[in-house]
C-alpha cells in the first residue's frame, strides 16, 4: 500500500511536470496560492499530515491525554482529613474497589443491567428491523426509518421523564421505581440504536440469498439460523456496542426512575461531587472503560466496528 488515494487506478503518477497547458493560462508560478496548491498536489504525505493535524491534536493529544491523566490520578489518593490530593502512587483505591462488597455488587449489577438492556433491545429490535427491511414495501420503508429515527431526536431526558410519569404510583402504569424501571427505561431509550444498525445490515443482505435458501427447502427458522443471523451478526454487535456502553455509564436514568438503586455511574458521580474524591472516582471509572475496551477488542474481528 502506498500513500496514493486508494481508488486511483495505477496510471501515471500525478507528476507536476508542466503538461502542455491549453488556452492562455500557464501553470507558471502564479501567486503563493498556486505554488501551495502545487506542493499539496504533489505530496500526498503532506496533505495527509495536514488533514490529520488538528483532529489528532484534539482527540489524540487533548482527549487521550485527559483520559490518561484521569487514570493516573486513580493511583493517587486524597488526604482523609483535609481532602487535598496527595500525589503518591498507591494501589489503595483499586484495593478498596476490589475488596469492598458494595462496589463489587454495584459493578456486577451495572453489567447485568447493561446486558439485560442489550438483550431486551435485541429481542425487540430484530423482528422490527426484519419487518422493515424485508417485508415492508420500499415506499413504506423510508417512512418506517423516519418513524424509528424520530424518537432519537426527542431529548433523552424527556424520554426518561416520560417513563417517570408513566411508572409513578399514580401514573398510567404505576409500577413504581427501581431496578426494573431502570432496565425498562434504558431499553426504551436505546432501542433505536439497536434497530438502525440491524436494519442497515438486513438491507444489505441480498434478497436472492433468502430466496435461494427457500428454493433449497429451508423454512423460515432454518434460513434465519444459517443465513440471516450469521450475515447480520456484525450489525447486531454494532448495535450492542451502543446499548451496552450507553447503559453501562448511565447515572441519570437511575436517578430519575431507579428509586434508590445505584449503578457504577452513580458511584463515580457521588465520589466526584459530594465526596470530592477524584482518585477514587477515577478508579471506579476504570471499571466501565476496561469492560468497554474488552468488549470492543472482542468484537473487532466480527467487523462490527465498520457497521457503527
Amino acid at each position: 500500500m502506498n500513500t496514493t488515494a486508494n481508488t486511483t487506478p495505477p496510471g501515471p503518477p500525478p507528476s507536476a511536470a508542466p503538461s502542455a497547458p491549453r488556452g492562455g493560462t500557464t501553470p507558471a508560478p502564479g501567486g503563493p496560492r498556486r505554488r501551495l496548491a502545487a506542493i499539496l498536489h504533489r505530496r500526498a504525505r503532506l496533505r495527509l499530515s495536514l488533514l490529520l493535524s488538528a483532529p489528532m491534536l484534539w482527540l489524540g493529544v487533548a482527549y487521550l491525554g485527559a483520559l490518561a491523566a484521569l487514570f493516573v490520578s486513580a493511583l493517587w489518593r486524597t488526604d482523609t482529613f483535609t481532602g487535598d490530593l496527595v500525589r503518591e502512587l498507591t494501589w489503595a483505591n483499586f484495593r478498596e474497589l476490589l475488596t469492598t462488597e458494595v462496589y463489587r455488587t454495584i459493578a456486577l449489577r451495572s453489567v447485568g443491567v447493561a446486558a439485560a438492556v442489550t438483550l431486551i433491545d435485541l429481542v425487540i429490535a430484530f423482528p422490527m428491523a426484519f419487518a422493515m427491511a424485508k417485508l415492508a414495501p420500499p415506499r413504506a420503508q423510508r417512512w418506517l426509518v423516519i418513524a424509528v429515527l424520530t424518537p432519537l431526536w426527542a431529548s433523552y431526558l424527556v424520554k426518561a421523564y416520560a417513563w417517570r410519569v408513566l411508572l409513578s404510583a399514580d401514573g398510567l402504569l404505576g409500577w413504581g421505581y427501581g431496578l426494573t424501571a431502570t432496565i425498562i427505561t434504558l431499553s426504551y431509550l436505546w432501542l433505536p440504536y439497536m434497530i438502525l444498525p440491524i436494519y442497515a445490515g438486513l438491507e444489505r443482505l441480498p434478497n436472492s440469498l433468502l430466496e435461494a435458501a427457500g428454493d433449497l427447502g429451508a423454512r423460515g427458522r432454518r434460513t434465519f439460523r444459517t443465513v440471516v443471523w450469521p450475515l447480520t451478526f456484525p450489525a447486531v454487535v454494532a448495535g450492542s456496542i451502543f446499548t451496552f456502553s450507553l447503559s453501562l455509564g448511565d447515572y441519570i436514568t437511575v436517578k430519575i426512575v431507579g428509586g434508590r438503586s445505584q449503578l457504577i455511574g452513580n458511584v463515580v458521580y457521588d465520589n466526584i461531587g459530594a465526596a470530592n474524591n477524584l482518585p477514587f472516582a477515577a478508579a471506579v471509572a476504570t471499571v466501565p472503560v476496561l469492560i468497554m475496551l474488552a468488549y470492543l477488542a472482542a468484537v473487532r474481528r466480527t467487523g462490527a466496528l465498520e457497521n457503527l
Binding site: R34, R47, A62, K134, L149, W153, A162, T223, P288
Partner: protein, 269 residues
C-alpha cells in the same frame, strides 16, 4: 423466503407493537402538558393551556434554551471541520495506524459519558486554573465537540466512499488546482453529507447532559441541565412537562430537514 403466514403476521405485529411502545410515552407527555391536574393524575380531570403560558414566560427556560443553542452551534462548527478532515485523511489515504485513528474517533461515544466528562473536567481544571480561568461556555463547547466529531466523520466518510475520487481526478486533469477542485467538485459532492452530519451533531449536543454536567461552569445552564434540575421539584413539574412536550414537537424540524437534505438517508451515522 419461505415465511409462513403466521410468521409474517407476527413480524408485522412486532413492528407495530414496537412502534407503539416507542410513541405512547411521548404522546402521554404531550397530553400531560395540557393536563389540568398539577400532579398529572390519570385520566386527566380537564385540559388547560396554563402550563404552556407559564413555560413561555419562564426566564429560566428561555435562558437555558439560548445557552443550549449557542453550545450546540459552537460544537457543531468544530465537529464539521474536524470530522471532515479526518474523513478525508482516512478515506483518501492509507497509512500506518489508520485503524487506530478510526477507533480514536468513536472512542468518545463508545466510552461511557461520565468517563469523558470527568476526564475533561479534570483536564480543564488543571490547564485553566493556573490562568485564572474557570469552566464555562467554552469548556462545554470543547466537551461537546469531542463526541460530535464522529457524526460528521461517519456521514462524510460514507459519502466519500460512494462517490470515489474519479471526478476529482478529472478536475485535476483539466487543470484545476487543489483548492479549486475542492471548491467546485469535492465540496458540492459532500455538502448534503455535511448538513446531515452537522444536524446530527447539533442534536447530540443539544440533548447532552452527562458531559455537560462536568464541563459547565456555575453560570452555564443548558436546557437539559435546567430540566434535570427542575425535574424533582413538584411545583415545577407542569413547566418541565411543557418543555419536554415542546422539545418533542420541535424534534420534527431536524428530521424533516435531514430528510429533505440527504434524500432519505439521514441515519444517526
Amino acid at each position: 423466503m419461505n415465511l409462513s403466514r403466521t410468521a409474517r403476521a407476527m413480524l408485522w405485529a412486532a413492528l407495530a407493537g414496537g412502534l407503539a411502545v416507542v410513541y405512547v410515552p411521548l404522546l402521554i407527555v404531550l397530553l400531560n402538558s395540557f393536563n389540568a391536574d398539577r400532579t398529572f393524575g390519570w385520566p386527566p380531570p380537564g385540559f388547560t393551556l396554563r402550563w404552556w403560558e407559564a413555560a413561555w414566560n419562564s426566564t429560566g427556560v428561555r435562558e437555558a434554551l439560548w445557552t443550549s443553542i449557542q453550545a450546540a452551534l459552537g460544537a457543531t462548527a468544530i465537529a464539521l471541520v474536524l470530522g471532515t478532515m479526518v474523513a478525508f485523511a482516512l478515506q483518501r489515504h492509507s497509512f500506518f495506524g489508520r485503524d487506530a485513528v478510526s477507533l480514536l474517533i468513536i472512542l468518545p461515544i463508545a466510552l461511557p459519558g461520565i468517563v469523558t466528562g470527568i476526564a475533561l473536567n479534570n483536564a480543564f481544571r488543571a490547564v485553566l486554573e493556573p490562568f485564572g480561568l474557570g469552566l464555562g461556555m467554552f469548556t462545554v463547547i470543547v466537551g461537546h465537540a469531542t463526541f460530535c466529531v464522529v457524526t460528521v466523520y461517519n456521514n462524510v466518510l460514507a459519502r466519500l466512499r460512494r462517490t470515489g475520487s474519479s471526478l476529482e481526478e478529472a478536475s485535476a486533469d483539466l487543470g484545476a488546482d487543489v483548492f479549486t477542485t475542492f471548491r467546485l467538485v469535492t465540496f458540492p459532492m459532500i455538502r448534503s453529507a455535511l448538513l446531515a452530519g452537522g444536524l446530527l451533531a447539533f442534536a447530540l449536543s443539544f440533548d447532552e447532559i452527562i458531559v455537560t454536567t462536568f464541563t459547565a461552569g456555575a453560570g452555564v445552564k443548558t436546557l437539559p441541565l435546567w430540566i434535570f434540575e427542575n425535574l424533582f421539584r413538584p411545583n415545577q413539574a407542569p413547566v418541565v412537562n411543557v418543555v419536554a412536550a415542546a422539545l418533542i414537537v420541535l424534534s420534527v424540524v431536524p428530521i424533516y430537514l435531514a430528510q429533505r437534505l440527504s434524500g432519505g438517508e439521514a441515519g444517526p451515522r
